[in-house]
């Protein structure tokens, strides 16, 4: 742009020569942007690693009992293997049935808690959808009836999602005592915040003409939303909701750690009692559940999207 104004000579130069000049300038700018960007990135990376103790030198006990100063990363990584090795159960081919029964010795309790975990996730998703859906319309810039409503509903959603569900769970356990209700409320509130944000972004991308059509026929704000906006956003809302259910199953399997119901409380117990093989058994249970739910909801989501393509 600035080059174009510098000289009159350019006006008479052959267009290809002008292009070469502009192209060279463009490349130069791109290289400078890259260099500056990489430098800033490296500085931030180094700074955050330093703050995160990545460069720490620590004292380590060696096998012969002597102590020595070592960089923390190579000193710590072997301990990861040590921990994992402790959780691996003793399985022998000859006594496999008995060994497995021994590994999953609390399976009745765990199965009950697993059902509880999935139900917590389900209820929390229901609450999250209702809350997020209702607030997503006033929180969308193009739909909000006025600035104050927009501001207020956005802040409510922000608070709901910025506080992690574990922290909400601590608060609700304090209010409503230990149990799955605290978990439902905690995960529900957090997902209302997250879903409301996602839904409102979907709302901001809709075609406004149908809403104008409803308005011009004498419809209220609610009529415009119900008839003009909701049919447009529904497929996306279903898709995001299923995705959220997957996330909530993961959340609800750990939320019991603070006493809010589900499998998490078993984790806590196994850790404090140092029952390492219990940890791996719980991990297997949650891993399988999450895979099954992910797979199912992915299939369902694709069905929803597929239905859209063939009206």
């Amino acid at each position: 742009m600035t080059l174009a104004q510098t000289s009159d000579a350019r006006a008479y130069a052959p267009p290809i020569a002008v292009f070469e000049q502009d192209y060279a300038a463009l490349r130069r700018r791109a290289r400078i942007t890259w260099a500056v960007g990489s430098f800033i990135f490296l500085v931030l990376f180094a700074l955050s690693s330093w703050l995160g103790d990545f460069f720490k030198i620590t004292q380590v006990s060696l096998a012969d009992g002597s102590r020595e100063w070592r960089w923390i990363i190579p000193a710590g990584i072997p301990r990861l293997g040590e921990y994992v090795a402790k959780t691996v159960p003793d399985l022998n081919w000859a006594t496999l049935g008995a060994d497995l029964a021994d590994w999953f010795w609390r399976w009745k309790i765990w199965l009950n808690l697993l059902v509880e975990t999935v139900l917590i996730a389900f209820m929390a998703t229901v609450f999250g959808v209702v809350g997020g859906f209702l607030l997503s319309f006033p929180a969308a810039r193009n739909l909000a009836p006025n600035r104050w409503v927009l501001w207020l509903s956005r802040r409510v959603l922000e608070i709901a999602r910025t506080v992690p569900d574990l922290v909400w769970a601590l608060i609700f356990v304090f209010c409503f005592s230990v149990g799955p209700m605290a978990g439902v409320l905690a995960i529900g509130l957090h997902s209302a915040g997250s879903l409301g944000k996602l839904y409102s972004e979907v709302n901001e991308n809709i075609d406004m003409r149908p809403l104008e059509g409803v308005k011009a026929a004498g419809g209220t704000w609610f009529d415009q939303i119900r008839y003009g906006a909701v049919p447009q956003v529904l497929p996306n809302i279903i898709s995001y909701t299923l995705l959220r259910f997957e996330i909530n199953v993961r959340s609800s399997s750990i939320i019991g750690y603070v006493g809010a119901g589900g499998l998490g409380q078993e984790f806590r117990e196994a850790m404090s009692l140092q029952e390492y093989t219990d940890l791996s058994a719980l991990f297997v249970i949650i891993f399988v559940t999450v895979i099954v739910i992910d797979y199912g909801s992915e299939k369902l989501r694709h069905r929803v999207i597929g239905l859209e393509r063939t009206p």
């Binding site: 003409r209 026929a217 004498g218 419809g219 609610f222 447009q232």
Partner: protein, 272 residues
């Protein structure tokens, strides 16, 4: 004839642009009025002002003695219902079926719950089907509106306007996105409504031939002002040349005035 719709020194500014600039008009009951002018002359803005989709900066609009610009809440929605609006891009809800789209014309008389649950009475459904029948669209009644052709969609929009029981119908470039055959169907539909029900029609057009063929009265706008107001016969070539401000156009062909391309958002077309 008595005038039903009166505009008194109505202006609407967008920043420094005077989209509508001191317009005075009186429209008589049962008239079929065409509004012509270049893109950005203020035609759309004027219709939107009448329907109160936007508010005038200054001036007064009254209908049958009622000051429209002062209406609020329930009364405003009732006014919008009685002055049905048809859009260039139809403004239907693509993902709802045709019948529901027509029933949207009844929403002004619904309460919150029946509206949110999409509950309409049998009488209303009968009304909607009758309106669709008038426009030969009954076979499509349960189809999604988005699957219809442009011409069909515009006729759905007219059916929706009809169930509003309007006193006046505003049409903003209703045929600008349609092929000639569909355009004729839509214009004939508007004329039939005008003749059979005596509903006043105010229609923005950009093809002079259409305006000449259908309208009792033609109003031309230029730079937000009313530039010409008369019958088709009074619209001579000299007047037309002035309306369209044919800078650089030596030969002016009245049949080729549809120079306007489709503009996405109607409000953004107000420039220049």
């Amino acid at each position: 004839m008595t005038s039903v719709l009166t505009l008194r020194s109505v202006s609407r500014h967008f920043g420094d642009t005077r989209a509508v600039d001191d317009v005075n008009l009186s429209i008589e009951a049962g008239q079929f009025v065409g509004v012509i002018g270049r893109s950005g002359a203020g035609k759309s803005t004027m219709l939107r002002l009448i329907n109160r989709l936007i508010d005038p900066t200054t001036g007064s609009i009254s209908f049958e003695g009622v000051e429209v610009t002062a209406l609020k809440g329930r009364a405003l929605r009732d006014w919008r219902r009685s002055c049905a609006m048809i859009f260039q891009q139809f403004n239907l809800v693509d993902r709802l079926d045709v019948l529901t789209n027509v029933l949207i014309g009844r929403l002004a008389e619904h309460g919150f719950l029946s509206s949110m649950t999409m509950r309409f009475s049998d009488a209303e459904r009968t009304m909607a089907i009758e309106a669709l029948d008038r426009l030969d669209l009954v076979p499509q009644a349960l189809q999604r509106a988005g699957t219809l052709s442009g011409g069909q969609q515009q006729r759905v929009a007219i059916a929706k306007a009809l169930v509003q029981n309007p006193k006046i119908m505003l049409a903003d470039e209703p045929i600008a996105s349609l092929d000639p055959a569909n355009a004729t169907l839509v214009m004939d539909g508007l004329r039939a409504i005008n003749k059979d029900h005596g509903i006043t029609v105010l229609v923005n057009l950009h093809t002079l031939d259409t305006a000449r063929a259908y309208c009792d009265r033609i109003i031309a706008m230029r730079q937000g002002r009313v530039f010409f107001d008369g019958t088709a016969a009074q619209l001579t070539d000299d007047v037309v040349r002035d309306i369209y401000g044919t800078e650089g156009l030596r030969e002016f062909n009245a049949a080729v005035t549809s120079t306007q391309t489709i503009t996405g958002q109607p409000t953004t077309s107000i420039s220049a």
